[in-house]
Assembly symmetry: C2
Homo-oligomer: 585 residues x 2
Amino acid sequence: MASPGSGFWSFGSEDGSGDPENPSTARAWCQVAQKFTGGIGNKLCALLYGDAEKPAESGGSEPPRATSRKAACACNQKPCSCPKAEVNYAFLHATDLLPACDGERPTLAFLQDVMDILLQYVVKSFDRSTKVIDFHYPNELLQEYNWELADQPQNLEEILMHCQTTLKYAIKTGHPRYFNQLSTGLDMVGLAADWLTSTANTNMFTYEIAPVFVLLEYVTLKKMREIIGWPGGSGDGIFSPGGAISNMYAMLIARFKMFPEVKEKGMAAVPRLIAFTSEHSHFSLKKGAAALGIGTDSVILIKCDERGKMVPSDLERRILEAKQKGFVPFLVSATAGTTVYGAFDPLLAVADICKKYKIWMHVDAAWGGGLLMSRKHKWKLSGVERANSVTWNPHKMMGVPLQCSALLVREEGLMQSCNQMHASYLFQQDKHYDLSYDTGDKALQCGRHVDVFKLWLMWRAKGTTGFEAHIDKCLELAEYLYSIIKNREGYEMVFDGKPQHTNVCFWYVPPSLRVLEDNEERMNRLSKVAPVIKARMMEYGTTMVSYQPLGDKVNFFRMVISNPAATHQDIDFLIEEIERLGQDL
Amino acid sequence: MASPGSGFWSFGSEDGSGDPENPSTARAWCQVAQKFTGGIGNKLCALLYGDAEKPAESGGSEPPRATSRKAACACNQKPCSCPKAEVNYAFLHATDLLPACDGERPTLAFLQDVMDILLQYVVKSFDRSTKVIDFHYPNELLQEYNWELADQPQNLEEILMHCQTTLKYAIKTGHPRYFNQLSTGLDMVGLAADWLTSTANTNMFTYEIAPVFVLLEYVTLKKMREIIGWPGGSGDGIFSPGGAISNMYAMLIARFKMFPEVKEKGMAAVPRLIAFTSEHSHFSLKKGAAALGIGTDSVILIKCDERGKMVPSDLERRILEAKQKGFVPFLVSATAGTTVYGAFDPLLAVADICKKYKIWMHVDAAWGGGLLMSRKHKWKLSGVERANSVTWNPHKMMGVPLQCSALLVREEGLMQSCNQMHASYLFQQDKHYDLSYDTGDKALQCGRHVDVFKLWLMWRAKGTTGFEAHIDKCLELAEYLYSIIKNREGYEMVFDGKPQHTNVCFWYVPPSLRVLEDNEERMNRLSKVAPVIKARMMEYGTTMVSYQPLGDKVNFFRMVISNPAATHQDIDFLIEEIERLGQDL
């Protein structure tokens, strides 16, 4: 690993070029650096050459005094008293950075060097010759480095090295051949927005401390509701820490709508409530039911057809069954884009049933919601406009950096009534501005991370049409993959027909298995193929794709494409790589 | 607002200095830029002068060809075909950035320019002559700018302007005179770590996709448990999205420990459960009880003494009362550092009672947990080692950027049993590495943001002793404030005695009120003083401090100090500012 101490600020120390003794070089650097916006150039110059040597405003010709030039100190003494010492990270600590008295120079140097490391990482992430992962087993990583926390501080050189080490072993989630999760890719505008969010370091609970972000959340949620199809974008919503929590919100609000007394009295005061969702739905529905005191037994899993879509007749049958037992159906969660198959439940049929039995209709479109941005594909969510609530994760199909999940609610005010506790130290009623912008009390959380800015800025940068183009491209790539493997030797599709989302589910059958009869032994051997290929992918670091069993189907690959960097060639590469790594199995 | 298009990449266009026609300047810039670590210098040079003009490795003397120099395009035609056009943001869009084919150059330029904006903001944040907030009413901000989301993309110049506008109206949460929330300050190492986290853009659920971060979470939670005082740091824990969710986790796990059947059967299968917490505790306990189906009526608020500490005899009385009614006490949540008074409940006495009645003891040390890092102040949490679970938010007193909240649990394995749902697509049982590092199934969330890295990196940079110094300093400043105002004319303390935490609660009584008798009219007028002063503080933008009523006490100021940038002079300033803004009331 390159030592950060021998980097930017230590020029002239290694190869003799960029001679720091040459005043014209130094002067010219400063002249150029002056052109940074906002005076940062001045600061960088001052950092390099000392305040006294700030170049004249224009056209001056006297060279900076040689004695004032600063480069990395190499005296190796501690404490070091060289005039150059400020810019040698080995002798700098966190306490030398802002708000320290003379902290501005080392702070700008340090943050710029961190940025340098990050920019390298970004560029490498998109380079196909870079490994997706430099995989090491947990015990290897634990042994190779000392990660422990100690009493004494480390110097900034060590801190910069930790940044490099951490990124060395990180998954390159923006890599064109990273397909492992529903969230892949690294959007440059989204990344910039997330850096800005970190720098603003505030909290969503009130307009008082997050004026712009609160307004942007209002604007963005309204736009999302318009796209869902609720008249005038009316309704409510929140950005929550992920789809599981968004789904839990839906369950919480649905319960409150039917039995508002549950807030004070708890579940003891209400009859047994039953939620319905498909057998292919996300596990967060059960997780939410367990947490909310409803219980996992009260989540009824409705049958799916062979494509993974909820069967409406089974839904109606199970609702009637529950009612006959004296239970109260309170929520149906239909899925728009299931996790494994990418299936879209028939929302119109589900909506009819919910209307008939007066049940809250939730749509978990965490994964499929992105398709609403595409004129070509949004028909797959027809009926979503009839939902009472929708989970939609822009951090999945829309490529927004993690985390960015929205829960949208059709009825306004319900979230507030359900969750508000009127903390007087936060939501003072005698503030001098319009209190309707203090939205924190509708959240389950108190403090809440700013998740909206990256979505909003990406939306401004791409436009709705930009998201549409991204989504259409990913779906086209999935169709391309499907068209290649459906008739290719050694592949079996998990379900028939073109993919509806970007999920393509298949087995790779190595040559040795192709000759076997379709019996238990073959299934047993086939179940071991995907895990071995996946392990090899990670060890080579060439690509990553997920696998899992589902019901009676043994381990199969689930390819998903949300990565804007992926191309047809990457799909070709994936196929070749699976065959290369699996042909001997 | 400065146009970003006339910034870094457009040098030579405005004032004639840094002449781009002067080859020696350009050459010298590149020589210096070559010294950036990791080849970024090469990339910046290539960006400015074109690949063909990359300077020779060392000592070369031929100037770059004049025709290949690139600066901001000023032709004002669209589409522009000038060779300079690449670096003019007005003609660049998100689609020109990576992973676009030739995206590397504009990406590096764009991200560097964003960074330039962020660095300016950081430096300004610490400058006392900067306003803490440039306050505008919601309707003003909505009218002044168009924040709407449209079909068509905006160019990168507009995107950079949005970044500047957003920061213009942002609260400077790192400003030395920002005291408004429990979370204040902006730590430079923490900020760098958060930028890195954004760049890594991954998710905590498995070792597979977050190898280093998962290990760092393990190491950091263990260290926090050691500091709490659990033998060998054993136990469990998680970083959750804020203290409210951490407290909800505690309630969820306590319930599961006593009645594991609640996971499947729901609250219908268990007797009525009762939780106890003080009347000064955080509202999230009630919020959690409402969500978990326990109900807010089942949260009994225990009396506090005049300093805001829970009265143990009242706790025992209420537990017995609940038991007599046939209810089941299942959780006591003691607070270490209440939100308004900063009070520490008597943990040892609470622990004795919890032991006697076999009740889960939770300590909400979201705000006070930081004092565990101080040898001088940690006695205030004596008894925390007897808790079954602890909430501790490093994003509050320890100055870690938002969000960073930990829930620590003494018994290992309980979180996993309570929350796991065994999603086979995520937690495959046949992976090639040690599955004990796939910790995602113990979370309520599915995807989970990486919150640990900023805490870990700050801890390495500061050491435990660095956190200790920060905490000791903030408490010393609070004592300083107390010592100034306790006998100063025009101030009344809300409670007597030196502050235990950094909370100092007081009324400012303007001269016109000092002569009034202590009756309802005076109280009524006094209640309006703090809101008006606060509104004026925001309009002037000079400082920010919170106020609220509490029980029968009308609006008073709650000063809290967690900001590492604050000094004695800033405390003096606050007092003067309150008097300046409030003397006419």
